[in-house]
Point group: C2
Chain length 668, copies 2
């Protein structure tokens, strides 16, 4: 592969001019919007300029170059820093977009959104997420390099702030990054001693460097405004391959603002007209030219873009040669890099669905094995519960610092980092990551799931041990509200399969859905086998008639999901003996069902018949599905520690109890 | 105060017997339940015995002794360790309850639940929570000592595991504990090298001791089975007052089981009949006496209980003397320790409600100031957003390592620890803690909120910057689903006030609700002043008629919350010009409204009139409130970065747009 060389240092004066350009682009955009965070861009401009103009490997004209470095702005509130860099370096982000910072429909929202803006590698803002996204990307980069040796040689860079360091998710990700010896990861800690509310030392005084050394990171303290120290740090970073690297850059927030630098006033508010002018005067900047970019600075960036473009071209040529030299890898290379799934995935997975009575975690696990064989992009891991979630891909070694050739990551008991790392692994562009833990711990991952949904990032979240029937572990581990709570996040598809075929449909949908996360909710306990063999196509519609009533319109229609489908079927049988015409509708994915054409939905859920929903969790959302004369059977309180069968009996989740309750209700 | 003295060491043979008793109580209970985690109790029995029988200050006959030490089992899956200790030490937990471990209705659930079992200080299981609960308790203890000098002299002890150490929340809490120099906190890290799925070094190899030193903790490595080392460590712990103390106790999981010790098989499964017998044989324990407690062991614990009882009695006498000596503190002492709120709190807060147009965060902030003056137990803090949430209590200093006399904690950007620490502060028994951050970050706190609800713990969670009208910060910060998601957690009351009086009702309800958490959801932007002055009593019912229709039954009934109430009022005015009879119902708290008598609910929401809900978030739950011919106005997708007024216009949240939409819908 063509060797990357850092650009030579620009003359000091030009570098200073370029740094000021970044600062004032940020200041002017924030002034114009009358909203934003100028402090970080001003404090970070020195090292950001040096990183982007000399050390970062990318091609602004092709943001999808697989061998590019990734840059993560974990401190997403400093978005104008990133937008200034994207514009200056030649990405498709015109100055007009900077002028429309934080306005409706612009590509420069308050916090960076990866699906909106070319060159934004991940959606950041909620602190700590970007930190873990980058660790995920570094894992993905190692995995890519292990699969296709000789093709990739890039790094993950990130800018992290005090807030990132305080958030627990960064601890989880940093510990795992140290464990995995991610020598391709370099983070700059913008150590400015100021938070939104005041001085950092009012809430934190830990020794961050020592902490990261304890994780196994290499650390280096520098003056974040001293260009020689910055360049030396980056030189060391690109020579480091054994350990993740934290550069602790002491900076001054709002650097350059005569009255507001080093104060929290400059963190989250525009400088204001007066201070903006004072800053421009102090730094020798024209007062009458907002969004001014000196020609020399334009030329500097233009020249670098040309160099980088040539590097990219050379890589393309080498990649072509690599393909020719590795015919044995070509199929898997294309499948992986394009994240291909077979056209007949649903049929393949349906064929792999076990025909036996088992827990859906086991049934889905079997399906997943087939998915793993068919989709080389599928990689993932669990939060120390692989034995319980049944998700590790067999015949593939665990990923470790010694080898990233495997497909199974051990995230440790670090659910939040797992979620955000999976986002980063997906955003890296080559993998379809899955995560796995107990459903109750989806709460620990929720901020990451939300960002996957917002950023339209493909991730598969497997959650097992749903509802109360995990039994003895008790209410701390029993998810009552979690399925409903996941359904509330926009752009999330939540599957709660009832049997092996529904597990196949869930996995198929998850692998085919490239525009957001898919949740697969599974049982610890065995579920009943379905009363008939449905067709994969009907199941894939998210809702279908599993048991059709005999003759005439239905008197009662059950709407059920997951482990309660079997219960509905059994209750329906009991009710049929009362000469009632009972239909059972299985609704493994409400979101997919709601996207079906009206005819399908009306056919599955006719107007006729009184409706009963049954799902062993919160009933809130089901009320609108069953209507005003409907019945919702669910659980609206915390569970209890006891054997599953005892819980089922006490909470009314047995066929005789359900049938009796429906009979009673029908009388009313 | 009477000086606490550790008990003398028991003779080695008796101590060994006592340790074995703990192990076999745990083993036998788990065997009987055929479910549970024997590994931790077996590995921890040595130091647990020494801590509880010699160093821990408590009175088993009065679990509410305020000057007791608190013991936190953060690794809640080791619950049988705690139950064994509670039984042996003389708490009200009969052996029969141990025999009903993990059974329906027992006081020995799979994971400890503080509201169920005397002596259980907090509900644990989801890892990391107990760690942060204990830090909160240590803060509370420092606050108590600062308020009432000379009365309290106790410590917080905790047992934390690998899982606790990996979870991000423990990092947040540990960093803050170091910052606050919590010298009253001692945690034993059960360093057993084994997780549920295998060897710890497959997912973690950080230097935990070095990390905690970086936080400012004192650390000490010991052999967790060596009684002399253990006692020496505890001697050092009770002499430490400057720094939190981490004892890293190297232990062997399942210690004593001949074939399963040091393996992950012993983590989460019963030993099984064979290995149980082998263990009993190996340790010289009778095979035929399950739940066997040797008389000498009984006597040992009984003797200690007597000593502790006398200590407690002496404390009671001193407390009486203290009261007499401090008449000037008596009123606030009683109010604080009893967590008193005035009988006319609602009227008081209503009188303090500002009569001006403002953001609800500001209106609620003003109300909270009055609450702070009336309720000395009220303390709390924010996640580096106090300037924005308006929650800091004025005229009270920030809490710092130098002084805990103040009422305002700066939690830093550590939402998750903030939530769990607040739980611990409440469970400590003297304070009503509040927390504050932006609503979108409620996701970061969700596991802690859930445990507050499950544990029936009084906490006030203030969340500001709700919905999309925070504007330019964009979708990462705009809560679409969070209000609905919080409503899904059982035993949570969610208030979303529309005006100053509703803010008063929310704060009043939150302070009076002792059985669970209350969420107060507030706007960043100004809200309209209400069209009439409602009475505090109707507002306190969670739902009331704000604008009554003129003559005859209503044609349209608006159901609105928070900032959309003013919008509904304005839209109702526009619709009234079409000769429609329009009612506006404000529903600041659905949970409270649903607990009202049916007559009130029917009076507020009559059968007459078609219903329109309006809340700037997910519409899911509103569908059942408006019924099948109703209209839900909300937001079912992510927001956007733009000025608030522009967003409102685009998403239809202006009075003319709402009125137009309702008109259109009425035609259908």
């Amino acid at each position: 592969m063509p060797k990357f060389q850092p650009a030579d240092a620009a003359p000091a004066e030009l570098a200073a001019l370029a740094v000021k350009t970044i600062k004032f682009l940020a200041i002017d955009a924030i002034e114009q919007a009358n909203s934003g965070h100028p402090g970080l861009p001003m404090g970070a401009a020195d090292y950001a300029h040096i990183l982007w103009s000399r050390y970062l490997k990318f091609d602004p004209r092709d943001p999808s170059w697989p061998d590019r470095d990734r840059f993560i702005l974990s401190a997403g509130h400093g978005s104008m820093l990133l937008y200034a860099l994207l514009h200056l370096s030649g990405y498709d982000l015109p100055l007009d977009e900077l002028k429309r910072f934080r306005q409706w429909g612009s590509r420069t929202p308050g916090h960076p959104e990866s699906h909106l803006t070319a060159g934004v590698e991940c959606t950041t803002g909620p602190l700590g997420q970007g930190f873990a996204n980058g660790v995920g990307m570094a894992v993905a980069a190692k995995m890519a390099a292990a699969r296709f040796p000789g093709l990739y040689n890039h790094r993950i860079w990130g800018l992290v702030s005090d807030g990132d360091m305080m958030e627990g998710i960064s601890h989880e990700a940093a510990s795992l990054a140290g464990h995995l010896r991610l020598g391709n990861l370099t983070y700059i800690y913008d150590d400015n001693h100021i938070t939104l509310d005041g001085n950092l030392d009012e809430s934190m005084d830990e020794d961050v460097g020592k902490r990261f050394e304890a994780y196994g990171w290499r650390t280096l303290h520098i003056d974040g405004h001293d260009h020689a120290q910055i360049a030396s740090a980056f030189d060391q970073a690109i020579a480091e391959h054994e350990r993740p690297f934290l550069i602790l850059a002491r900076t001054h927030i709002g650097n350059g603002a005569p009255h507001k630098h080093d104060t929290h006033k400059v963190h989250g508010e525009p400088l204001g007209k007066e201070e903006t002018e004072a800053t421009k005067r102090a730094l020798g900047w024209p007062l009458d030219k907002p969004f001014y970019i000196p020609d020399e600075v334009k030329a500097l960036w233009h020249g670098r873009a040309e160099e980088l473009g040539r590097l990219h071209e050379a890589w393309r040529a080498e990649e072509k040669a690599w393909r020719a030299a590795h015919p044995e890898l070509l199929e898997v290379y294309l499948a992986t890099t394009e994240r291909k799934v077979p056209g007949d995935l649903l049929a393949e997975l349906a064929a792999a669905a076990p025909e036996k009575t088992d827990a859906t975690r086991s049934l889905a696990g079997a399906v997943e094995q087939r998915a793993g064989a068919l989709v080389p992009s599928l990689v993932g891991g669990d939060a120390d519960l692989g034995g319980s979630t049944k998700t590790p891909i067999k015949d593939s070694p665990k990923v470790s610092s010694a080898s990233f050739a495997g497909r199974n990551l051990r995230f440790g008991i670090r659910e939040h980092a797992m979620g955000a790392m999976a986002n980063g692994m997906s955003l890296y562009g080559m993998f379809i990551p899955f995560t796995a833990t107990f459903l109750t711990f989806s709460d620990y991952m929720r901020p990451a799931i939300r960002l996957a949904a917002l950023g339209r990032t493909q991730v598969v979240h497997v959650f097992t041990h749903d509802s109360v029937f995990l039994g003895e572990d008790g209410p701390t581990h029993q998810s009552i509200e979690h399925v409903s709570a996941l359904r509330l996040i926009p752009n999330v598809d939540v599957w709660r399969p009832a049997d092996a075929l529904e597990c196949a449909a869930a996995w198929s949908a998850a692998l085919e859905r490239t525009t957001g996360p898919t949740e697969i909710i599974l049982s610890r306990q065995k579920v009943d086998s379905p009363p008939r063999k449905a067709s994969p196509d009907e199941v894939a519609r998210g809702g279908y008639v599993l048991v059709r009533e005999d003759g005439g319109p239905p008197d009662v229609v059950f709407l059920a999901t997951g482990s309660e489908v079997g219960l509905a079927v059994a209750a329906a049988r009991a009710l049929a003996q009362d000469k009632l015409r009972v239909r059972v509708v299985s609704l493994p994915c409400l979101e997919v069902f709601e996207r079906q054409d009206p005819a399908w939905r009306a056919e599955v859920l006719p107007k006729a018949g009184r409706r009963v929903s049954i799902e062993a969790g919160r009933t809130t959302l089901w009320k609108s599905w069953v209507g005003e004369d409907g019945l919702t059977i669910g659980i609206d309180h915390f569970g209890a520690s006891a054997p599953a069968a005892v819980i089922a009996e006490h909470l009314g989740f047995t066929a005789p109890l359900v049938a009796a309750r429906v009979r009673e209700w029908l009388k009313r």
